[in-house]
Symmetry: C2
Subunit: 620 residues, 2 copies
């Protein structure tokens, strides 16, 4: 028995373990959440990790079955089957993490050369006197422009309101934070100009605090979006904002308060002050973008779904009720259309698809699923109304990814194995669990291709005239109602997956590209990152392609926000990308109804000559 | 008896009168306030007017005595002695107006070619559709940039917040108000972009509504400054603002509310909306400027009296709590020093002294009196702590220019003749009356050169150990206490006038110019416009020069604000003027104490070889 030091990346958790403990056990001991449905038996294959350095036990038969020789050579292993032999470093990919772990680590590092919009200049000013009674701001600008051959002519009014006290308390030494010829804040002589990247989701808000000088992420955190009090879905919030000016203001302020607090919390983590945040980038879908800016949304919600503005914006943080550096700006990446927002642009930016030849499909699955097809320098984009089913909405036992949610499951015969978040007793099913459930129901023939629940299956019951599949029985739940997938749930899921698949299909048709030609499918976003791609293929939600062509990109929107935060070049690229996009409205795509119908059947298929042809077996 | 049409300018009041009515009577009938102390007897010479066209009665002996042949030839007459013969047009100079009339008319027209910072462009936009779902702001910018070869890249966030509803309600026609490449507001298809010039005084706020396209003044109005609730004098308000952040905010908001209301009232007068005001210029002294911007004032009130900022500023109106066009800016002219503000710059701009050879003295009399000496391309400026005496402060019966205030007076032997504002029974004395009183007391030998009240004068009494001069007796006031000038009042006035004169003296010395060389003395501001210059000369407040060298310039600060409002060139000139100014701190001027002592004596004098030499008689 040997004591080994283990370093789990990218979470950055380090600790000591014994060589008799599996990597899964080590991870749990150190508080690193790794997914495991089978409870460490090596059968569910959900605890994939990659050994980056150090020596571990030999692959078990289960691992030899799971991984290709290339993958094993690259260090890929099942955490439950692998034991450390000495000090090792382990990469836990996002798809192997439990849900609560994910948000902390998604897109932690960004590897572009910083070219930040705000730079800080250290200055030592002359002390004014009766003989030389120069005004503080003029004194500052004079020194600043001398020092760095800048041509700053402006000091933000917010910065002016504190400049006199700051200069005197810092004994005439300071840093001037300069953005496009404007002094937006004074910083203490010793401090770093900070940036905040925000991924503003309908449900969650993810924030990343970045040192603008070197582009390093200092801290990251996710919080719930308090706008939920005005409706869980975006349509309710839009209705609220349209209903009254007061509610529009409230909805704006809720997001602003949450972002201000998130920024403050992140600063506390690194012993900085929110006033040192000099630049913010926010990405979100178009409706979230509009609600956050308190822009009109009535025309966005009605055909022809026109945004108030699409181009990139720079707005003073104070005009959005944010409490950061006095003259800090918020940069909003451009959006593409009413239903394709800056978050999709950020994703395209992060994945670098704009520079690739393609064909590449990039999608971000959510209530609206945005899909782009990149091919030969052109980008075609659409938005599919996939609905809230994959986020747990409109599903009887659907729930958000919270403690007790079933996040992974397997059905073997009449046995159901599942894993819950926090290993708590099951209380419902979250998105990835719902997707697994549909795939497993189909594979175990509990539903047929048409989506009809099979009354002969031992776990299918009829209740109040509706069939349902018992995932967790009343007995297992100690008398609480059983957790089920109902016939209606299956229908909702069919609609959702059909929307996504037919969106992809429409783009392929518009570009004259076949499914087989797709070189890569990039799946971004919280749900997309965490799903079992095999399940998505099984139900025909995604084109039948070898698994190796799929890439789960993590929180690419948040990453894109960080890129835009630290680099003006990346902002220019985002704008250039956006201007290349052709948006297709699905409703007006040719034969869309037929495409949708074909896509609503379960099982893998291809469209050949306009006809659906089922594919059986693993395409990998 | 003939009916004649009379047109009083610049008030623009027209009406019909009889040839048996004097111009003074006509004026009263038509509501034009002309000053008259003697009650129309032709003895006080305060109702001077100028006949611009038409025929009037021949000069009376009193007029022949009052005016030089040149003046008579130029149409100058006493309104009480002159009768119309046919239709006439009459100019009533500001110094001949009663106080309430003044604010309405001061500086009504400005004669520079408009070169406004904001221009409006008429546009007709494409209606968006499912096939061409362009965002509203992008649609607007595209059309705008096509149309006028502009390169607008930005739409203000406030404008964005209303753009979608505006475009739809105006059926895709609008005017885009553009400022430096930014769309700051949309205006209805038929409207004018409006500007608002504000002279922000400690006591009064004067506002001028201007059509930015042609530079014409549409309406003007003056209101009291509600910041008075935080102290009548600026020092009290500074103390308040330093005392707490909350009070600083309140003081700012009071001014902002008053200006917003003033703008709204002026718009109502011309059937416009405050949202059509796209640009505002505000001038005021440095402390008023700082309080209005909510800038720090602690360091401004303590030696070495450092402003937070001196250079010109452009600030979004919303960041100053003003309710005008969504993206409207407020332009603040530069200030010169802690006690020489943008109002003085505006005055220098209006009077065009920057382009003159000089020597010219330009001064604005108030609690602080700002004085500039312009000579050979150089401008030297100082600020004199003249105190509130000439505004009625620290004077026993001093009051603001309101109904019942004695505004003019004459003492002949033991008779006192006076004129009150609104011809109401006297209740106190306002600035111009106080100045007249001191001059008349000196001329009638009721005070000596040293300022001591003469106990032998029939109207001088002793009351509680202090001498006082009875202006209006208890009997005349029907039992109310007598209105007096006390010995202490005289001392206050001596200090005030000494401050002004010694300030002028210090500038002359710093520039090596003698009093006799001064080509012109320009007196600006409400008080300065309304004073009887002869009285100011009599007490030695101003250098003994021929009356013709004095020019009373009216509300030159307000005029300067208007110039800056309608012309970018004027703004550049204001900045250029300011950068030429050398500020002199009086406390550090050589032999200032002696200069001040010499200046505190009453009577006309010159400094010759460092010694005070009294001048007797009229210098004219």
């Amino acid at each position: 028995m040997t004591a080994c030091k283990i370093d789990f990346e990218p979470v950055g958790r380090r600790g000591e373990c014994q060589s008799k403990e599996s990597l899964l056990a080590c991870a749990r001991k150190l508080g690193v959440g790794i997914s495991s449905i089978c409870g460490g038996k090596g059968t569910c294959h959900s605890c994939r990790v990659q050994i980056l350095s150090g020596s571990v036990s030999k692959p078990t038969p289960s691992e030899l079955e799971t991984f290709s020789p290339q993958e094993l050579k690259a260090g890929w292993r099942l955490a439950c089957q692998t034991y450390p032999r000495n000090n090792i470093k382990v990469n836990v990919p996002a798809e192997s993490m439990t849900t609560p772990q994910r948000l902390q680590v998604e897109g932690q590092e960004v590897t572009v050369r910083p070219q930040p919009p705000v730079k800080a200049y250290r200055l030592k000013l002359a002390v004014p006197s009766l003989e030389a009674p120069q005004a503080d701001a003029d004194n500052l600008l004079q020194k600043l422009n001398q020092k760095d051959k800048l041509n700053c002519k402006k000091v933000d009014i917010g910065a002016l309101r504190v400049i006199s006290d700051q200069l005197r308390s810092w004994k005439w030494q300071c840093q001037a934070a300069v953005r496009s010829g404007e002094v937006i804040a004074l910083l203490p002589p010793r401090s770093h100009p900070l940036g905040l990247a925000i991924d503003l989701g309908t449900t969650k808000i993810a924030g990343y605090l970045v040192n603008l000088s070197d582009g390093k992420t200092l801290a990251a955190k996710g919080v719930m979006n308090p706008q939920i009090s005005h409706g869980e879905d975006i349509i309710s919030r839009i209705n609220g904002a349209v209903h009254s000016e007061e509610e529009r203001t409230q909805i704006q302020e809720l997001a602003a308060e949450a972002i201000s607090q998130l920024g403050a919390d992140l600063c506390t983590e690194v012993s900085a002050k929110p006033e040192e945040i000099v630049e913010v980038v926010v990405v979100g879908n178009t409706a979230m973008h509009h609600l956050f800016l308190s822009l009109p949304v009535r025309q966005l919600a009605l055909a022809p779904f026109i945004p108030a503005v699409s181009r990139a914006l720079d707005i003073k943080a104070r005009n959005l009720n944010l409490n950061f550096a006095p003259g800090a700006y918020v940069h909003l990446l451009p959006n593409i259309a009413g239903f394709v927002g800056a978050d999709h642009v950020a994703m395209l930016l992060t994945t670098g698809v704009g520079q690739k030849k393609g064909p590449i499909v990039a999608l971000d699955i959510g209530t609206n699923t945005e899909v782009s097809l990149i091919h030969d320098g052109r980008i075609v984009t659409t938005s599919c109304a996939s609905g809230p089913a994959f986020e747990g909405g409109h599903i009887k036992y659907g729930m958000r990814a919270a403690n007790g949610a079933i996040e992974r499951l397997q059905i073997t015969g009449d046995k159901v194995r599942y894993q819950t978040i926090g290993e708590a007793p099951p209380v419902g099913i979250c998105g990835s669990g719902i997707l697994d459930a549909l795939a497993q129901l189909y594979l175990s023939k509990a539903v047929d291709e048409g989506g009809r629940l099979n009354a002969d299956h031992p776990r299918v019951r009829s209740f109040r005239g509706q069939r349902q599949f018992i995932l967790v029985s009343k007995e297992e739940r100690k008398g609480q109602p059983a957790i089920t997938i109902t016939q209606r749930d299956v229908r909702e899921l069919q609609l959702a997956k059909a929307a996504i698949r037919s969106g992809i299909q429409a783009l392929l048709e518009a570009s004259g590209v076949t499914e087989e030609e797709i070189k890569q499918v990039i799946i971004a976003g919280a749900f997309g990152t965490y799903i079992n791609v095999a399940s998505a293929l099984e139900i025909g939600m995604l084109p039948s392609l070898p698994l190796a062509r799929f890439l789960q990109a993590g929180n690419a929107a948040g990453m894109g926000a960080k890129l835009a935060l630290i680099s003006l070049k990346q902002r220019a690229q985002a704008q250039a990308l956006t201007s290349r996009v052709r948006y297709i409205e699905l409703a007006s795509a040719p034969q869309f109804e037929q495409t949708f119908m074909q896509a609503s059947y379960l099982g893998q298929y291809r469209i050949i000559g306009g006809r659906r042809e089922a594919i059986s077996g693993d395409p990998g």
